[in-house]
Subunit: 189 residues, 2 copies
DNA sequence: GTCTATATGGTGATAGAC
DNA sequence: GTCTATCACCATATAGAC
């Protein structure tokens, strides 16, 4: 048994039941161990949560940064980032769900380790929006609000997506990007 | 002590700590009772959660329905609904946060009571989108996806809004509606 | 309607054998 | 590295006095 296998099982259970409703017993059972044996690999339940959050954030940051550094027009870059982000999110649903919905279960001491990385992640989105404003192609009066709207429209997907629901991740990603870029209203003419 | 006072305190604590992390002890303390005394007013913790979810949903449905029945052009109607919804949500943050983030802590038997109302709520949004499509003013190929994007951009607000954060609810509501209607891209010309 | 006391069971975590 | 056994604690909920 490896630490990664345990974290993977834990992520699945945390995402299904929520951090506090999930017990060490549940996790041990999922990997066919006694719960005491888990503590050979991890030091506490909070420690597991932090590890999962960091792992999820690393995964997403890595994807987004690869897009962010490319010399593309801001609209193409942001669209690509949205598609890449949504695909990664929906293909690693357990990790993403824990990152987005369980991060508040982190106790203060652990949270202070995690927060800086999360800020950097949000900064990536804000910077991509800023580029578009500077290039005169984004219509955006408040960068902070726009980046939160952008994250909202993407992150909320984790609350309703099911892999057998008819829409594929790429399909969802493209349509969501279209809607966010063009808006709901039909253009005149 | 009334049931409503207890539910109100419970909503605040559920929204702060999450349902499972909040104890009956916490709630009793918040209303200056012994935890055993709570059971004179409510029958279980799950019962409290269901009551809060229903209360929150009632509040929001009531607001949205009042807008939905008005004979307005679809774009004006949806914009008004968004503003009304966001204002109600941000002014009743505790209720809304429990509704949006803790509903999955409901056990199956309780959930089956709650789900039909929730479906009706989502149907209200979908219908308003449909009206706009029928009137030829909304650009929307997939009603289900668009309504989820719409709910995402609004509901995510509950995860970051703080009343002393500079932006007022009405301010947030107007800007969010603008962005969702017009899109991020600047129009040509 | 609120209290004290308690039943009953699960929790995260540790000790120490193998 | 995994086990059995156990600790100390907290959870939801109930019983019954006042």
């Amino acid at each position: 048994m490896t630490k990664d296998e345990i974290l993977s099982a834990a992520a699945q259970i945390f995402s299904q039941k929520g951090f506090h409703a999930a017990s060490m017993q549940d996790i041990a059972q999922a990997v066919n161990l006694q719960k005491a044996s888990l503590y050979h690999h991890i030091s506490s339940k909070q420690d597991m949560l932090l590890a999962i959050l960091d792992q999820a954030l690393d995964l997403l940051i890595e994807h987004i940064e690869q897009v962010a550094i490319q010399p593309l027009p801001a609209d193409e870059k942001l669209r690509l980032a949205m598609v890449v982000y949504l695909q990664a999110m929906l293909e690693q649903r357990d990790l993403a769900a824990v990152l987005l919905l369980e991060h508040r279960s982190l106790e203060n001491q652990y949270r202070s380790q995690h927060i800086p990385r999360r800020d950097r992640f949000e900064q990536l989105w804000r910077n991509m929006l800023r580029e578009g404003v500077e290039q005169g192609i984004f219509n955006c009066t408040d960068l902070a609000l726009a980046s939160r709207a952008l994250l909202g429209v993407m992150n909320w997907t984790i609350t309703w997506y099911h892999p057998n629901g008819g829409l594929s991740p790429i399909n969802i990603a493209e349509q969501t990007a279209d809607l966010f870029f063009n808006g709901l209203l039909k253009r005149e003419g």
